[in-house]
């Protein structure tokens, strides 16, 4: 019913409301994306922009594309970005110190002039008698269904590009493997080999397992070593870093002796 009341080329009121609510939010999110310091915030703002764009696509008679935008772009690509951000460091933030003097100013000028050119060109052409004066709309193109229409085009007119894109996908998978897959140059040592090594090297406790933490310790603190049954400090009871710093305290003042044992009784 709504379409009958509209003149050709303009959109209906519900879509206008949707647009005027979402579009300023998208632009604000984009500006925020380039201004926030932390990279994770930029990623989340970009995810928001992509979901809003999916809503725009659905509003513009492209429902398949809207769903693909959410599933592929937001769901796969943005999640990949977030994974890599977690790997690189969630707290990574840009430094504000400029290494090239005046670069920000020049970049701002260049970007703003590009924007002005684009918007000016679009405005002159479209708001005049130009292109959108007769927006045809997709009712006829979508007459057999949006997915069917897209499929007809994809497998007849654009079938060659469709097949060549497979080369791109294979390259991406190959490249990720080449740059990311670490192979072990020697096979992993099995438990049996580790055990054999322990026996060969002749350590003091080759066969029996080591005592669990706390069995020989004399105190809760990390810098006081535990004492083995013969009275010598256990070498593995204090961390390497503390030993290297020389912060190990003697155990003697903290040892239980017969007087204190007698007192506690």
């Amino acid at each position: 019913m709504n379409t009958l009341a509209l003149s050709a080329g303009l959109t209906g009121a519900p879509e206008a409301v949707l647009f005027w609510i979402l579009a300023p939010l998208i632009v604000l999110a984009a500006i925020g994306m380039i201004l926030v310091k932390k990279a994770v915030h930029s990623a989340l703002l970009l995810a928001y922009i992509m979901i809003s764009l999916a809503i725009f696509y659905i509003a513009q008679d492209a429902p398949f594309l809207g769903v693909v935008q959410i599933v592929v772009y937001t769901g796969a690509v943005m999640m990949l970005f977030l994974f890599i951000l977690m790997l690189v460091g969630v707290d990574s933030a840009d430094s504000l110190v400029e290494t090239i003097r005046g670069q920000r100013v020049v970049a701002l000028l260049a970007g703003l002039s590009l924007g002005a050119l684009l918007i000016g060109a679009l405005g002159r052409s479209l708001l005049g008698a130009g292109i959108a004066g007769g927006a045809v709309g997709l009712d006829q193109a979508n007459s057999g269904g949006n997915v069917q229409g897209l499929a007809t085009l994809l497998f007849s007119r654009y079938v060659w590009a469709f097949e060549v894109v497979s080369a791109l996908l294979i390259t991406a998978a190959l490249g990720a493997m080449v740059l990311g897959h670490r192979e072990r140059p020697v096979p992993r040592r099995t438990q049996r080999q580790l055990s054999e090594d322990r026996f060969r090297e002749g350590s003091e406790l080759p066969g029996a397992p080591l005592p669990s933490p706390g069995v020989f310790s004399r105190h809760n603190a990390v810098d006081i070593p535990a004492l083995l049954p013969d009275g010598s400090p256990a070498p593995t009871s204090v961390s390497r870093v503390i030993k290297a710093r020389g912060d190990v305290l003697p155990t003697a003042p903290f040892e239980l002796n017969k007087e204190s044992q007698g007192e506690q009784k």
């Binding site: 679009l122 052409s125 497998f155 060549v164 740059l179």
Partner: protein, 510 residues
């Protein structure tokens, strides 16, 4: 639902299918063949497929047809450029496959996922393996390059642009020596390349908005029927041009070239410098001569300005360089300017001149970078200019071959460069851009200065005591250099057969 089954002319796209199929076969080799045999299989598959594809291109001689529902246009310029690309790729793959130069093995790293300087890297390098994935990546890039000048619409062009670029981003990061520089080159190439692809895409969106279609013949019709002076169309053309000029490293968009050429492994630089320019200029010629020929009064001044700035700045910047690979990179920027001079002359002579220049430049580049791989010292390649002094005393043959390539770059008579420059400048003059010709001749003179400076350095300067040695080139590098040198000489002394071939081929179909 009226779905009409697409007609795919398999014979006409056979070269591209052969190369891409061989690339997929290479990936299967990586998956299933044991590591010790991979190298042999990959080299055989790569070289064999390139030769087969070349035979297919030769058999298509004389075809002039818009194939595969308008996505691929097989005509004279396409076939000439595809043949050139395949011959250049033979040289490139020979250099990539060379294992006899570096004491550790090939120019490529053993295991790209190890950290530079770590124990794991040392173990991997000592084991003598290389990342043989380089071969299928090269074939994928070559497949994209074969499709790029043949694209019949902007979507195919964009997909081909990405197919040729992504493997090159990866290969730039796989050097064996100086891995940090190599990784840095890969990052810079990737970020700037993605940035320019986005410009190309937005420009094609604007052109689609104007014309209602992205096929080049459809755009051509829309321009002629609407007297296309629409601002949206002009903005779209400008943005698409930005994306394409990045690929050929024309001046405002050249910043990636010196760093990437210097950081990438030299065989990859040779392949990239020669083949990417040929493919990208093929796409520029097709877009501007077929799709946008009706707009020529709008884009000619812009491209002339870009050509002038590119020639002048490329030559001036090359004068101050002290690293051989960087100097060759800046000189390739200048050559992009010279080829643009031929593109700007929107006539058949301009097309012929550009095609000839591309062929001449491609072979000279492969030869020059092949010789750069031969001059080595204990840490790898010796690329600082001062290390090249007196090279002729130690190895007169290599020095004279390099001198031949430098003279071809400079455009001295009896080399292919002279015939190429003459063709391009004559075409520009005949189309009325005399300013371009004057600037071109002046830049060539300045360029000749720094090329001859290197020749003087090699022949007449004293060699350094602990300087680099010139390794006796093993068979693959020798074959590549011989191919490049013989084409450079033949095109310079007896260019008429190739010129006639180009004359008969230089007609676009649409």
């Amino acid at each position: 639902m009226n779905f009409h089954v697409p007609v795919i002319q398999y014979a006409e796209v056979l070269p591209i299918l052969i190369v891409l199929g061989a690339a997929v076969l290479g990936v299967l080799v990586e998956a299933f063949i044991p590591r010790s045999l991979r190298y042999v299989f990959q080299v055989v598959i790569s070289l064999g497929s390139i030769l087969l594809a070349f035979v297919a291109v030769v058999r298509l001689h004389g075809t002039s047809h818009v194939a595969v529902e308008g996505s691929v246009v097989v005509d004279g310029p396409t076939l000439f450029l595809q043949g050139t690309l395949l011959l250049l790729a033979i040289g490139g793959v020979l250099l990539i496959a060379e294992r006899g130069l570096d004491t550790g093995g090939s120019a490529f790293t053993a295991h790209a996922a190890t950290l530079p300087g770590s124990e794991a890297e040392r173990t991997a390098l000592a084991s003598g393996i290389i990342q043989t994935e380089v071969f299928p990546l090269t074939l994928f890039a070559l497949g994209g390059m074969l499709l790029f000048p043949a694209a019949g619409d902007l979507v195919t062009m964009f997909v081909a642009l990405e197919v040729l670029s992504l493997p090159l981003y990866l290969m730039s990061g796989l050097a064996r020596r100086r891995r940090l520089l190599s990784q840095e080159a890969a990052l810079k190439y990737f970020l700037l390349g993605a940035f320019s692809s986005a410009f190309f895409l937005y420009g094609s969106a604007l052109i689609y908005g104007y014309a209602g279609t992205v096929s080049l013949s459809g755009i051509r019709e829309a321009i002629s029927s609407n007297a296309g002076n629409d601002l949206v169309l002009l903005m779209g053309v400008a943005l698409v041009t930005v994306g394409l000029l990045f690929k050929v490293s024309a001046v405002p968009f050249h910043a990636w070239t010196p760093d990437v050429y210097q950081g990438a492994p030299t065989p990859v630089t040779a392949f990239m410098a020669a083949c990417t320019k040929v493919a990208a200029f093929g796409a520029i010629l097709r877009l501007f001569y077929v799709g946008l020929s009706g707009l020529r009064w709008d884009w000619r001044p812009m491209l002339s300005g870009v050509a002038i700035v590119t020639m002048v700045l490329g030559v001036i910047w090359a004068l101050t360089q002290t690293d051989m690979k960087r100097m060759l990179a800046y000189s390739s920027i200048a050559h992009a300017g010279f080829i643009l001079t031929g593109v700007v002359a929107v006539n058949k002579a301009g097309l012929e001149g550009s095609l000839f220049y591309l062929a001449a430049y491609g072979f000279t580049t492969i030869g020059a970078f092949a010789i750069v791989t031969l001059v080595r010292d204990s840490t790898g390649e010796a690329t600082h200019l001062s290390q090249w002094s007196g090279l002729a005393r130690r190895s007169p043959l290599v020095a004279s071959t390099f001198a031949l390539f430098l003279l071809a770059y400079a455009g001295i008579p009896l080399t292919s460069g002279f015939v190429a420059k003459f063709a391009v400048f004559a075409a520009a003059y005949s189309s009325g851009s005399s300013a371009l010709v004057i600037v071109g001749v002046l830049s060539s003179a300045i360029a000749a200065f720094f090329y001859i400076r290197v020749i003087v350095l090699m022949f007449f300067a004293e060699p350094k005591e602990d300087g680099p040695t010139v390794v006796v080139p093993p068979i693959m590098t020798t074959a590549a250099i011989t191919l490049a040198a013989s084409v450079t000489l033949v095109l310079g002394v007896m260019p008429s057969s190739v010129l006639d071939l180009i004359k008969s081929a230089a007609r676009f179909t649409f």
